[in-house]
Amino acid sequence: MSRVPGSAAFCLRLLRRQLVLGLRRPVEIGNPLLFFAIVVALFPLGLGPEPAALAEFAPGILWIVALLAGLLTADTAFRSDYDDGSLEQLLLAPQSLYFASLTYVAAHWLLTGVLLALLSPVFALMLGLPVAAIPTLVLSLLLGTGVLSLVGGIGAALTVGLRRGGMLIGLLILPFQMPVLIFGSGAVQAAVDGVPAGPYLALLGAMLCLAVALAPLAIAAGLRISTDA
């Protein structure tokens, strides 16, 4: 009897592997955060430095920049494992590819979305977002970047076999991410206006649940297609 680890143990090992690999390259973890900071700095330069105007647009700005940062990192979810062939080994493994895909996305989210959400209060203060809205911003980013990572994972899985997937991935996934932008910035705006943000956060949570359940199916299908190429 060979001892094959069950799906849960397998996924935990996979998660640890992905996190260790990520943490060994701290600069790559920092890059999207730096991108976030630089793009936030572009808005005062482009729109003018009046605090009132910036504060008015801050919810939208922060969410759009989070969307773009997520887009830039989406491609990295499977890229290095595809290049060195370990992705093919994963497809051959007896454990479920559904949970393995979910684990990959979870690792990606922990290394990008979560860090971004935790750092966002700094940028929110720089743009003059009211302090009272900051907890909502962090919470909405935590929920929303989960959806972004999952949907981004679909785009990444479909394009990882292509040499020039970089631009394409944005065209594929941005339309699907528009609802996240609507409800994410809506939640922050509601918090700024002093209206309960709960409904927006609930909708973001519902989208996250749906994405957690369905996106791994599409990711797994996409990975099988890409490794055929």
């Binding site: 679909i154 339309p175 609802p179 369905l214 599409a218 299908a221 055929d228």
Partner: protein, 245 residues
């Protein structure tokens, strides 16, 4: 049932079948389009508020309706090709994307032309317009993904997955855009004034919608035939066809 199913997987059979369908469907469609256009443009009363400019709905509404339905045709073809590995479903899916994108584009452009005299602006970030714009992006995304793959069999599979993801997402996008609109937009412009459409205007509109469905089918079949010939260009039956036998 199964023999029919297998026949649909056969390129020469489908090529001949689509040829004999097109022989009568294409003239009929053109006739229906001309008749519907004449009926709508000349024989309906002018609108009491908008005068004659409303007549663009005889192009605009059918294009929008069929563009929406086209996405589902594409997704269903994609699902069939993923589940039963039917090659001709790949071809159908590939053929739908440009037709759907073109119809969406027509709906947006005619809407914009109608908006200029009626609303005084070419573009409004209205919920429905925004949704149609996103639909255009979805179609173009499928085309871009298909073109990015060298291997067309894999391209079709990838597009099938993408269009299925799209079908799950379209209701969410529509609902969220609706909600977004009702929150942000002051109610300065009403799409329809709550009035129902008069039968004398409705019947030509329904006629045109049917004609546009027929047009969609024709374009789809023509596209499929071109794609079949391209894919099968090395086979004996296409060579015989090209030689004019």
């Amino acid at each position: 049932m199964w023999t029919l199913f297998h026949k649909f997987g056969s390129p020469p059979w489908l090529y001949r079948l689509s040829g004999s369908i097109l022989r009568w469907l294409l003239p009929l469609t053109l006739l229906a389009l001309v008749a519907g256009a004449v009926w709508g443009l000349l024989f309906t009363p002018p609108d009491f508020r908008q005068g004659n400019s409303y007549r663009i709905i005889y192009i605009h509404v059918p294009a929008a309706v069929v563009a929406l339905a086209g996405y589902y045709v594409m997704a269903i073809a994609g699902a069939i090709s993923l589940i039963w590995r039917m090659k001709m479903a790949d071809v159908a899916m590939r053929a739908t994307a440009p037709v759907g994108a073109a119809l969406t584009f027509v709906a947006l452009v005619t809407g914009s032309i109608w908006g200029k005299p009626t609303w005084g602006t070419w573009w409004v970030w209205d919920a429905r317009i925004t949704s149609m714009l996103i639909l255009l992006f979805l179609y173009l995304g499928v085309i871009a993904l298909y073109e990015a793959y060298e291997n067309k069999a894999l391209a079709a599979k990838a597009c099938a997955v993408l269009s299925l993801v799209g079908t799950v997402n379209i209701p969410i996008i529509y609902k969220s855009v609706d909600w977004w609109y009702s929150l942000h937009q002051p109610a300065s412009i009403k799409f329809t004034g709550g009035t129902t459409i008069d039968p004398s205007m409705l019947y030509p509109l329904l006629w045109m919608i049917v004609a546009f469905y027929a047009l969609f089918t024709c374009c789809l079949l023509l596209n499929m035939r071109a794609e079949i010939l391209e894919r099968e260009s090395r086979t004996a039956w296409v060579r015989r066809l090209a030689a004019g036998e």
